[in-house]
Symmetry: C2
Subunit: 287 residues, 2 copies
């Protein structure tokens, strides 16, 4: 496995392979790799010839009061995981190479970035869409894989790639969960024992919403009530938002008659958790 730090070396590596018609797969990460990342890497490995994983804790997607400095970092374990999963190149750029003096360009997906995560984290998605555009420019992959756990992020990236004609196929892979349903996340390591014990409530709430839809409930306010009832049982859990949305625009919908995504976010102590489920309403019986 090659470890590449230089941006130009990364592009040269990809360009050479592209000329040989090699298919390049790409999994962008911020390191602190867990089984969620592992599943992305394995899915990628099956769909490409050459596989690149980037490890870059992107400063611009953290707000000024957020946890950039204490975001978990485990470069040695990350490289070992990549090696064991057959990754061909690990791209580890420096912040100064990514954002040199004079850097100022911003890539935004304005309407989608405003909602949900964007409401409490206004700097987050502009940082994400800008760094993804840069990484795609440097790595030049044919396909890139994102986890469904960050549903809004994955949806924004799909819009971005389509709008800017980047020609990168975006593959969204299922969320990987702990035994109690908690979606895997690099930040889970910061949950205190008593917080970890109730963290599964967010997923259970989504399951309750999905169950209501599958049993024929179409009124979003009724679905949301069944979701929030579950979370309210855990007083340690503060709901940030629960929403029933269109899967493409992320706009809230009031009546669920086909596919919808249930989005949820909240806090346990200082740790923010997000999760989602995509559900399809049962087909209406014809008389």
């Amino acid at each position: 496995m090659k470890i590449i730090r230089s941006l130009t070396a990364m592009t040269a590596w990809s360009d050479r392979l592209r000329r040989e018609s090699v298919t390049i797969g790409f999994v962008p990460t911020m390191g602190a790799l867990h089984d969620g990342h592992r599943s992305l890497i394995r899915a990628a490995r099956l769909q490409c010839d050459a596989l690149v994983v980037s490890i870059f804790v992107n400063p611009t997607q953290f707000g000024p009061t957020e946890d950039f400095a204490r975001y978990p970092r485990s470069p040695k374990m990350d490289r070992a995981l990549c090696l064991s999963e057959g990754v061909d190149a690990c791209f580890e750029p420096s912040s100064v190479a990514m954002y040199p003096k004079g850097f100022q360009t911003l890539v935004t997906v304005p309407a989608m970035a405003r909602r949900w995560e964007g409401e409490s984290r206004p700097d987050h998605f502009p940082g994400v869409t800008t760094v993804v555009t840069k990484l795609f420019g440097i790595v030049r992959p044919h396909l890139a894989l994102f986890g469904q756990k960050d549903f809004q992020q994955a949806t924004l990236v799909q819009r971005l790639v389509q709008d800017l004609n980047m020609g990168v196929k975006i593959v969204v892979c299922p969320t990987i969960r702990e035994q109690d349903g908690l979606a895997m996340s690099s930040r889970n390591v910061y949950l205190k024992t008593e917080e970890r014990a109730v963290a599964g409530a967010l997923y259970k709430s989504l399951l309750a919403g999905a169950d209501a839809i599958r049993r024929g409930t179409t009124d979003a306010s009724v679905i949301l009530a069944s979701m929030s009832a579950i979370i309210r049982r855990e007083p340690a859990f503060t709901i940030d938002y629960l929403a029933v949305c269109d899967t493409l625009t992320l706009e809230p919908i009031s009546l669920v008659t086909s596919k919808a995504v249930l989005l949820g976010a909240g806090r346990l102590g200082s740790i923010r958790l997000i999760d989602n489920l995509v559900v399809t309403a049962p087909a209406k019986r014809k008389r």
Copy 2:
């Protein structure tokens, strides 16, 4: 010469050539081609194997009160010029293909876009940098050529390409001028006879500034005074701005001791003219 309207056909054309290590040159235009464009095309022809010219009057770079509807269009003459200059592919996308329903991504170069042209045309540069990003994604050129006449645009595009790691070499070609020095522009056809007669004043004003610098004047306010004196002789000409700037950041400078760009913009009737000159101050004699 191939005429390509479909975005996917354009990308497929380029991808095939790239795999064969063919160098692709690109001249993006809004049509209404004149000798300025011709010089870009000829310069490109010498530096690449396969040459693409795009003709697309981009609606998003026109403000709501601007001249999108009456911007000059001459598709047949444009194609004839391209053919005669050895262009390999003329890319003519439709607006609906470029901006389909749901489109929302915006690429901005915020600090640079605010100044000069951006002050009177706030929508202009976000429209330009977004469409250039899209066109580069579709055409995938190795190099792209821009005219120095739109100095701020060329500088923004250079910043954009560097910031987003697009891997496209930007070549800026000298401004082509009429006999009296007026910079060629598709909008010049709209100048009335009496306006056309005095339109050369903008260039003469830049020449006066350049002359002052070459004779050792370093104080920007003195240089600007010599420039505005020339334009004030033409009462029909309304100055929008005259400025002495850093060539990379486009920030105004107060003392010209090395390279600088003189920027000028103004109005003759309803027609807006812009022009610029890059000047280098004479080296200081050592005692």
